[in-house]
């Protein structure tokens, strides 16, 4: 496949969160993207959710920025109602046939005014609201959909079935966008690579009658529960019993419905997300109504991810959610009024009967049959659990070269993993097509900017309801009326979701039509949404810095929900402060600086090497630093991945490939001593061993410093030789050392050092690791007695298969959560392990030849030092704190620095590899641009006031201020200071020092701060002076 015949475009199949992330990363790396979406709008499953774990953000606020970005991106073409029929050709040049169903609405004309749907007589069950609400035959998928265009459901529409009936919508449609004779179309598209982000469907519990779904109205699925809680859901966020609308008092969540079950369905795998979303839903509903009695019935509570265990612990201790370790066999009615009876055996083995108002089935994830057929047609191998069969070492590559896959199609996973998977797939596609980068993309011309310097301020205030988050507490109409009275405010508007695509477009129109030159948005926090609104101002043709946000949600509605009057008063003050500040804001031009096209990767483990290789394939110069004298990091001690792939052989291949890739320069025994500069132009000084310090110029940095093993203190480790830690045991086992060879009985103890007071987090890969060792031991000598003592078995996702395999081999699992950890003592040549059985509640004794401790994974101590050098935050456990768990899982607030692998959080090998690729994608996306724009709000010297007294010079941490002599018009030598706009970070320390207000930060000048203070205290009487 010669280089030049490759096509610089990529097709992403599936518009869910994972597909959107892949599309954005690919498009921003210089490739045209065809985003093929089966339904009428992109967004996938996420818009259906009300809140998402572990941050409890409202789901729409997380996905809105990505929806809007995809909708507006010049290099992403969204093909809705389209499905891929087949793909032929080879990597670099695929020929894809896509069939597009008719929308019956002309996209270019439809303005989504909603008249048609209002008049449409036919309503059918709405799949978006998982069938607990109705929608019309002509509808939009959800209010914030992108593209926000109506569509007609051919199965429901009367007119389509019988030409001379109905047709009301066509008559009343203002722009006349409806056309009943749209025909299905076929498209032939040439692309260089394909990314399959096909997503999933939730298990339909109606198949097995045992849970009473579809029979008893108060048995609902978790997705329906989510819709009941959603402010834009059918009941506007009010939870009531579906049977009779009465208030709910007692709720039961049943876990593992459609997962870990060979009897009522054939999904033997664990769906990985249900435990977490059940806790989230329980916490959300308990928060709204603390007296609610909420219980979760589970087999193992699987919350292995970052901050997940804390989330679980908080739900239990702070919110009082009850966790009952007992799977409910079935749901029966109690009496005729809708109450439900749950009969279960308590952990002690006693019968308990509970009558509940609502049963929520935590349904699992599965791949729809249509997608399985499509995959087979394209030639993608699937796993027995009907997910794309991927290798742990190439987590986004399918069996067919050039076709990548990401998201829940690779196996059940949560949103952060799907976002990382999207970026990883992007990195792999971009690496494949690097030679034809920027050949198919359309240049993005920034709109001309209107010069408003001479105009008097004309301010537009946009107040957001944010569903009920703001409107539920603050009297938004009163605040809007107040805002209209403020000086220079010419336009006030209220919207349900200001961050949604349609409202953004509306804002652009308003700015143009009314000639607004300053915008205030009263909504959520600028920290997450300022960039989004700035882009809107830019596309409306006014300078993006003539903008200020009033944080009336996070810092007002949400924190004063018990005191609505105070919240309303405060909202008025916050808006007045924002208006007064925006009045005096000036237009700013971002500073454009060139990017050094090279990357510094700190840490030579598998993660570092994977990122280095991918970026090298993308054509950039890589500096790979390794603390020790050998590449490989923690993977050197690993023997096999969860699905049995041989790690040492892969590691050798990786090391070789890294060694003979020309543009990767490796330095061993090297640590970083100093870092200066900023994104695009870092200068890092490193020292290798004892040799002289060297400096490296690089544009981006990726932190892959891995983690450290916990050396156990408990269970007589170090005192009894036969008690070993899991990694040591792997070595002994690999070389069949005597203790292992003639060992007859082995006891594994889980959660050693993890999930305790000191380290309240789960090290995520020890359960899988121990079970694999146990299986290998048992297969070698079947007569061996193997016991695994655990607290929760967390073989999430398709790892459940090895847990079942272990039990089939007769490996005995004993849970010590209820009766306390085992006691270890010496017994003649062996080790005596005393533990209580969790079913029989009786003491057991095991004479073990070896005891293996599954020790925790700790943050590496060097992380603190590196964090200070790059000024990066660490979380409470010492791991690097990413910018946002879902939106930006591999990035920091410091631009140009990324993190991947164990340095972010303990995780199995293939998750580290896909996070490495994701980091490479984000870094590559940045390096692909020749220059980047720096935030322009840096320090400005006021020549009228500054007289060079020099008091500010030494206070600047970035040494950006220097004394300057000049001659005034009369020739007398005078002094002032000058500030290097690139070095200056805009911290304002000089502004806080200057005794004569000679230097200020754009956007935070003295007058602006004083104006804000005055606005905040307008109706406060000056402190009464007691004589």
């Amino acid at each position: 496949m010669s280089e030049d015949t490759m096509i610089g475009a990529v097709m992403v199949i599936g518009g869910g969160i994972s597909g959107m992330q892949a599309a954005l990363d690919i498009a921003d790396s210089g490739f045209f993207v065809y985003l093929v979406e089966k339904t009428g709008a992109i967004g996938g499953a996420m818009p259906q959710y009300n809140k998402v774990f572990p941050t409890n953000d409202c789901s729409m606020c997380i996905i809105a920025p990505k929806l809007v970005e995809c909708g507006r991106h010049a290099n992403i073409s969204i093909m809705t109602l389209s499905e891929v029929i087949d793909i032929s050709g080879r990597a670099g040049d695929f020929h894809v046939r896509v069939s597009e169903q008719p929308r019956y609405v002309d996209i270019n004309k439809c303005i989504a005014c909603g008249q048609c749907s209002a008049q449409c007589p036919k309503s059918v069950d709405d799949s978006f609201n998982s069938y607990i609400a109705k929608r019309k035959a002509i509808f939009i998928k959800y209010p914030q959909a992108v593209p926000l265009k109506y569509q007609i459901d051919p199965a429901a529409c009367l007119r389509l079935k019988d030409p001379d009936s109905c047709g009301i919508c066509a008559d009343i449609c203002p722009p006349g966008a409806i056309d009943f004779d749209h025909q299905p179309q076929k498209h032939e598209i040439q692309v260089g690579a394909v990314v399959m982000a096909l997503g999933f469907q939730t298990f339909d519990p109606g198949k097995a009658k045992v849970w009473g779904y579809g029979v008893y109205p108060n048995v609902i699925t978790s997705l329906q529960f989510e819709r009941y809680l959603a402010p834009n859901g059918p009941t506007d966020g009010v939870l009531a019993r579906p049977s009779d609308g009465k208030p709910v008092k007692k709720i039961a969540f049943l876990q593992c419905i459609g997962s870990r079950d060979k009897n009522h369905c054939n999904n033997e795998y664990c769906s990985a997300v249900c435990c977490m979303y059940a806790i989230k839903e329980a916490v959300m509903v308990k928060e709204a109504n603390p007296e609610l009695d909420v219980s979760i019935f589970y087999i193992d509570m699987r919350t292995p991810g970052k901050e997940f265990d804390r989330y679980y612990e908080r739900a239990r201790s702070e919110y009082g959610v009850k966790f009952i370790r007992s799977r409910i066999h079935g749901v029966e009615p109690k009496g005729g009024k809708g109450d439900l009876r749950l009969h279960y055996s308590s952990v002690q083995g006693k019968q308990v009967e509970e009558i509940v108002d609502l049963v929520v089935l935590s349904v699992g994830l599965e791949t729809p049959d249509s997608m399985v057929k499509l995959a087979e047609k394209i030639g993608i191998h699937m796993t027995p659990d009907r997910f794309a069969s991927i290798s742990a070492f190439m987590p986004v590559h399918t069996s067919k070269k050039g076709i990548f896959t990401c998201g829940a199609f690779n196996g059940p996973r949560d949103i952060p993993q799907s976002v990382i998977g999207g970026s990883a797939a992007a990195a792999s596609a971009v690496a494949l097509l690097t030679s034809v980068r920027n050949t198919r993309t359309r240049p993005i011309a920034p709109p001309a900017e209107r010069d408003v310097r001479l105009q008097s301020p004309k301010i537009g205030v946009f107040i957001c309801h944010c569903g009920t988050n703001i409107a539920g507490v603050i009297d938004v109409s009163e605040v809007a009326a107040f805002a209209a009275t403020l000086p220079q405010v010419v336009h006030v508007e209220r919207n349900l979701f200001t961050c949604a695509q349609d409202t953004q477009d509306l804002m652009i129109q308003q700015i143009k039509n009314l000639g607004l030159n300053r915008i205030v948005v009263a909504a959520c926090t600028p920290r997450t949404h300022e960039p989004l609104f700035r882009k809107t101002l830019k596309s409306a043709g006014i300078n993006e810095y003539l903008f200020e946000m009033a944080n009336i949600r996070n810092q007002n509605a949400w924190v004063h929900s018990q005191d609505p009057e105070a919240a309303t008063r405060k909202a008025k003050d916050l808006i007045r402060m924002a208006v007064v500040k925006v009045t005096s804001l000036t237009a700013l031009k971002p500073l454009r600086i060139p990017i050094t096209p090279s990357a510094l990767i700190i840490g030579g483990g598998v993660t570092g090497m994977t990122a280095a290789l991918n970026l090298a394939k993308q054509g950039y110069q890589i500096h790979l630093l390794e603390k020790t004298s050998q590449l490989g990091g923690n993977a050197l001690h690993l023997f096999q991945t969860w699905n049995g792939e041989h790690v040492p052989r892969y590691l050798m291949g990786l090391q070789e490939e890294v060694n003979n890739t020309p543009n990767i320069e490796i330095s061993y025994n090297t640590t970083v001593t100093a870092v200066t500069g900023h994104v695009g132009d870092f200068t890092t000084t490193i020292r290798s061993g004892t040799s002289r310090k060297r400096t490296i110029q690089h544009g981006v940095a990726i932190i892959t410093t891995g983690a450290k093993r916990y050396i156990p203190e408990e269970y007589e480790y170090g005192k009894i030789p036969k008690v070993v830690a899991s990694i040591e045991f792997d070595k002994l086992h690999m070389h069949n050392e005597t203790r292992v060879a003639n060992g007859k009985s082995f006891v594994f103890i889980q959660c050693v050092g993890s999930r305790n007071q000191e380290r309240p987090y789960c090290s995520k890969s020890c359960c899988t690791h121990s079970i694999q060792s146990a299986i290998k031991l048992k297969k070698e000598v079947p007569s061996r007695q193997i016991y695994i003592l655990y607290r929760e078995i967390r073989t999430y996702g398709q790892r459940e298969r090895i847990y079942s395999q272990a039990r089939e081999l007769g490996i005995i699992f004993i849970n010590y959560e209820l009766h306390g950890p085992p006691k270890i003592s010496r017994e003649d040549t062996g080790v005596l392990v005393e533990v209580w059985d969790h079913v029989l509640h009786r003491p057991l004794e095991i004479k073990a030849d070896m005891v293996i401790l599954a020790s925790a994974t700790l943050a590496s101590p060097e992380a603190v030092e590196l964090a200070n050098l790059f000024k990066l935050p660490l979380n409470a456990d010492g791991f690097f704190q990413e910018a946002h768990a879902k939106l930006r899982p591999v990035e920091f607030n410091v631009d140009g620095v990324f993190v991947a692998g164990l340095a972010h959080y303990p995780k199995p090998l293939e998750e580290s590899i896909s996070q490495a690729l994701a980091a490479a994608a984000k870094a590559g996306r940045l390096l692909a641009r020749k220059e980047i724009a720096l935030e322009p709000n840096t320090a400005l010297v006021d020549p009228v006031l500054c007289d060079g007294c020099g008091l500010c010079i030494d206070t600047c941490p970035y040494r950006a201020i220097s004394l300057v002599e000049y001659l005034d018009e009369a020739g007398t030598p005078l002094k002032t200071v000058a500030i290097d706009q690139v070095l200056c970070k805009g911290c304002g320390i000089c502004q806080g020092t200057c005794p004569k207000r000679g230097v200020t930060i754009a956007g935070f000048t003295y007058d602006q701060i004083e104006a804000q203070i005055d606005a905040a205290l307008m109706d406060a009487l000056p402190t009464e002076v007691t004589p």
Binding site: N263, R325, R327, S346, Q351, P843
Partner: protein, 486 residues
Amino acid sequence: MIYEIKVNELAEEFGVHRNTIRNWINSGALPAQEGPGRRYLIQWEDYKQLCDRYGREPRISPEPSARTETIQARKEAPALAPVRLGPKTNPLYTLPTLADTCLTCGSCAGACPISGVDDLDPRKIIRMAFLGLDEELLASDWPWKCTMCGKCEIACPMNVEILQLIQRIRSRRDRDKIPPPIQKGVVTCLEKGNNLGIPKDDFLALLKELGKDLAATACPGFVTPVDVRGARLLVTINSKEPFVEPDNLTWWWKIFHAAGESWTIPSENWEGVNWGLHSGDYSAIRTVVKRIIDNIERLNCKALLLPECGHAYYATRYALERWFPESLQQFKIYTVFDLLLEYLNEGRITLNPSLHAKLTTFHDSCNYGRKSLKTFGHGYFDEARTITRTCCKNYVELIPTEEENYCCGAGGGSWASPFSAERVFHGRIKARQISESGAKVVITSCHNCKDQLGKSLNREFNLDIEVQFLWELVANSLVTTGGQTP
């Protein structure tokens, strides 16, 4: 601590009838003194013991602060000798699907109606087998209180073969330790041809007598066909009927007569019952079924009506498929449902639906229902309902029903075994189902179910219901060609 109870409150808590509570008090199972105002005063320890016996979580505990989840089990449990785990010698089972694949998730324990009795439940039985506590398992009576209804198996997400394990435990017990009535039944059947040892001539005399009465009343010209060579259908008899309720036999005879069926009863080894299934005595099962096959060959019959009692149907069909598969080629086998449906569909009998106006329901017996579905691939749910509804228009379903139906409590030999308290306790859920459905007539297709529902639960739970066999209902609904009812 004195615990004051009102009889109906305690009945509600334990899910039993007021009479049962009074029986427990009178029989001393629950020591109590009369208190003021129709209340009883009992010691908390006795109440706790009663809860333990029936595996209930005590609703109130003396120290309100004691959290059940605390490691209270350890303090409270008598000093149990620690179990030394190790390799299993002469294991109870070899296939991992009998216990090893168990997730200890508790679904089976939640589903089993007698979970908690003797502080045992299906999950604990599996666990003991898995950890090799075979002697304790064999010594325990719990496997004999279990009716092997299979409710635990259909709940198990990992498809653990719990019933096979219980069967294995039962067959491993020494014969002299088996509940005496069951062992006696099996031995008598082997020696005398039928469980109750009815001598041949008494049996034949009875048949003749009944035949004459029938000919005189409903079926003119009827003669009880005994040892009729060449008859199409061989019919077996449940020895309990001639012994206790002889006229029950006549229902089938009326139906055969109305349908003009060519059938016969063997004079010897006519027993349909097969208690080997209850005692786990596989050779006994095989012998009894071999006798049936011999009769078919001796009388050159073309078809066999599988014995109508639930366990008998299951045992016979199981034996035929397992040991005598070739015989299945020689003759056709009918269940009671297939036969009655054949007659209906071929119009050989017609039924008058207006005779039974009361609200009626059908109780799926476990062996014909989920166990048959699991072992033989088909559960007789729809057939039973079609037949019942052709006889009664006023029909209601129990909840839950069909595959998820609760056992009446008398299966697996319980009706004959000495654990009547547990049997009644097991039946409480069935009693609740029936009372909640409001049905006045309950149709079933199994002797044990009929006795348990009709004789025991009806009185114990004051259900005020009438219980009929399916074929009794059909017999009573027959419209003979002359139009007058039999």
